[in-house]
Symmetry: C2
Subunit: 429 residues, 2 copies
């Protein structure tokens, strides 16, 4: 049973780092320092706006910062961060912006962090992105085997500059690219203007990712529930824009991911798109989908992945539809909605009855492949800090575990395997 | 086994009727006749636009009209319509606009049919809506027990006029109100400006409904797949705008429905919203949701229903999460993506292993309650034309059928019943 004595090599596909905002100044081109002072001066009004919509809860914020002051410094202090990752049993991580999701004290200049939006001023947007990207490259360089930095890419701006920033980020050691979830008034992502960008990302082997955060907040009034109910839809939306317009057909090497938006919605979407392409009754009156050469699920499995963050039991039960290899777990460190600092407990309560081989894929192996982590180097780290299957409550005798999911697994994507619907959870009898 | 000898009382919660466009003229206020001529003159360009996006398929259209010429006249000819309903075994129906979903030959004036949109010119929009509403009231009056007409309501216009149209439609015998799925640049549906409208609809006992059709097409280029992939999201969106802003708390008698957008998406949405309200880990950093007095699923069960049209097996498998009583089947007559003229076959392939009692709810009883059909009168019609459970392939011995769904039923909304996920389809073992 060597499997039981191998610690998990865990990679968080969704973590966050960012400097306290004012400290970005040395990373920012000097010609933007005046704009930066103005941006800093608007901090209070931005905070008031977040409190008004209810995204910021004063009582929670006070308690959060009191209880986690030391650990939260890991948002920008590399030594502290290593301690926190070790404590959580996380060997490697994919690093998105905005360490502080409670008070926005580490917002990147000009709001280009998780709020990165297609309608940003192109000059300020690129300046802010470059400031963060420079700092992030330095930060990841403290221990490159453990950190894959995600460069901010304001993709709706001038294509030449965008492609240039991809090359610069690659040379600086960053490993992925975050684009705005929303293009707003700019060209949607089906537009051919982005082809050079997709080509450059594919060539650099840098996955392109959207992350939840941006949303049309002007439509929500002060109703927080509306925002939360659809905030994960907007980062998912580029998936079907890119897929149906043939982006993945023209750029077979491009990898596109969606972060911190869950993956519960994917089975329905895939079922719907596949059936549409394969000639469902409801689509017969429509023209054929000539831009694709294969059904949508084939692009999903080849080109798309989900940084599903703190995966829910409901989502894991649907993993044979989503595709086990398409689900990348993440801790969301150091955000309070994530699993830090109790990741080991979360993993146990979530994965206890999932087959060990599948757990290894979702907790690290798939992320290692997508983001090109150095697996032998990370294995050393995992030996030191990684939890064992027994720490996750997993049974040494895997035969009944595998058997309990047999019908779910065999049904899989039921529209392709001849079943009427997925047989979820039959294993827990 | 009297249950086996009772024919189904079937109500289609989603059907369509509309005049050949030019025939709307006598129903339109004369001062808009000049605008109407202009609108008629743009028919070819509208058709070209639909062909370009692929919503219209020339080859399919030719075949469709050839094969169904006679039946399609039921889109506006009451006598022909009765024959078609009888043939399908459908006793009653809820009548939306736009009989012709292939060539748009029956588009209501000024595009206020299924494409009804919040940014419509308020004068033309109301004029077009009133023309259709007048005709529809006449049409339904041919056999009021069988037809519940849905009045078009361009809700983003002047509130006084909108409330006036509700009263007028009610007096004319119409039974429900269709509002635009998209407000576009007008006030979103959380806005208190709409309170008098919701109050009037509740008082008139007229359900308010969105129907799929409108979408931000300008974003799609000529990529049909993008349109189809999200066209059902836009009519569903008002649900969470109204729910989280307390519309259903302030108007407990209001009924809101979503038509021809499926219901596969509802379990995920409900799971997400309920957990958010009930204090999930991910929402702890947020402010509480003070506008609601009960969890979202209580509003769903009290105020919301789904005109789910041609229900899919995948959706029926999730009916204990959606709520059996919230699912209203529909034929979509006379649209090609619906079940006409082979509704009896569709019902058999879809409902054969669903308990008869639940089938009765979804095929007619719930719709009768929501829309206030005259059940004794319709029962007479059903006795003449309604299929028997045996026609749907349903078993006279219902005990094993009920037993086969037991675990799914007991799990229900798993986040409320203490299960980790829904146990779907265990019954088919």
């Amino acid at each position: 049973m060597t499997d039981m004595t191998d610690p998990y090599l865990i990679i968080s596909s969704d973590s966050h780092a960012g400097l306290p905002t004012e400290e970005y100044r040395p990373y920012l081109d000097t010609r933007f320092h005046r704009d930066f002072d103005e941006f800093l001066g608007q901090r209070e009004s931005r905070r008031a706006e977040m409190t008004r919509l209810g995204i910021r809860n004063e009582t929670f914020a006070t308690k959060w910062f009191e209880e986690h002051e030391e650990g939260l410094r890991g948002g920008w202090d590399a030594a502290q961060r290593a301690k926190e990752l070790d404590g959580d049993g996380v060997a490697g991580e994919v690093v998105f912006p905005d360490a502080d999701a409670v008070d926005s004290r580490t917002a990147a200049p000009f709001g280009v962090g998780l709020g990165l939006s297609g309608d940003q001023d192109p000059d300020l947007g690129m300046a802010g992105a470059q400031a963060h990207n420079r700092w992030l490259a330095d930060f990841c360089a403290h221990d490159p085997k453990r950190h894959c930095g995600v460069a901010l890419l304001p993709i709706t701006g001038d294509v030449g500059r965008v492609v240039g920033e991809i090359h610069r980020a690659k040379e600086a050691g960053l490993g992925a690219l975050m684009i705005p979830a929303m293009w707003v008034d700019k060209a949607p992502y089906h537009d051919r203007r982005y082809d050079p960008v997709w080509a450059a990302a594919a060539e650099a082997r840098m996955p392109v990712i959207t992350h939840s955060g941006a949303a049309p907040r002007h439509e929500y009034g002060d109703h927080l529930g509306i925002y939360v109910s659809e905030v994960t839809w907007w980062p998912a939306r580029p998936l079907w824009f890119m897929l149906w317009s043939g982006v993945f057909e023209r750029h077979p090497g491009l990898r596109f991911g969606i972060a911190e938006s869950g993956c519960w919605w994917l089975p329905n979407l895939l079922w719907f798109m596949d059936r549409l392409y394969l000639g469902s009754h409801g689509g017969k009156k429509l023209s054929p989908f000539a831009e694709l050469k294969r059904p949508p699920h084939e692009y999903l499995d080849r080109n798309i992945f989900i940084c599903a963050t703190n995966t829910k039991r409901r989502e894991l039960a649907q993993r044979y539809e989503i595709g086990v290899d398409n689900i990348l777990w993440g801790s969301d460190f150091p955000h309070p909605e994530g699993t830090w600092p109790r990741t080991r407990e979360w993993l146990r309560s979530t994965f206890h009855d999932i087959p060990i081989g599948e757990t290894r894929r979702m907790l690290g192996q798939s992320a290692a492949e997508v983001f090109g982590f150095d697996v032998p180097a990370l294995t050393e780290v995992a030996r030191r800090i990684g939890p064992l299957p027994s720490d996750l409550g997993q049974n040494a005798n895997q035969a009944p575990v595998e058997a309990s999911w047999r019908r779910s697994r065999e049904t899989g994507r039921h529209w392709l395997t001849g079943f009427d619907f997925p047989y979820v959870g039959v294993g827990d009898d």
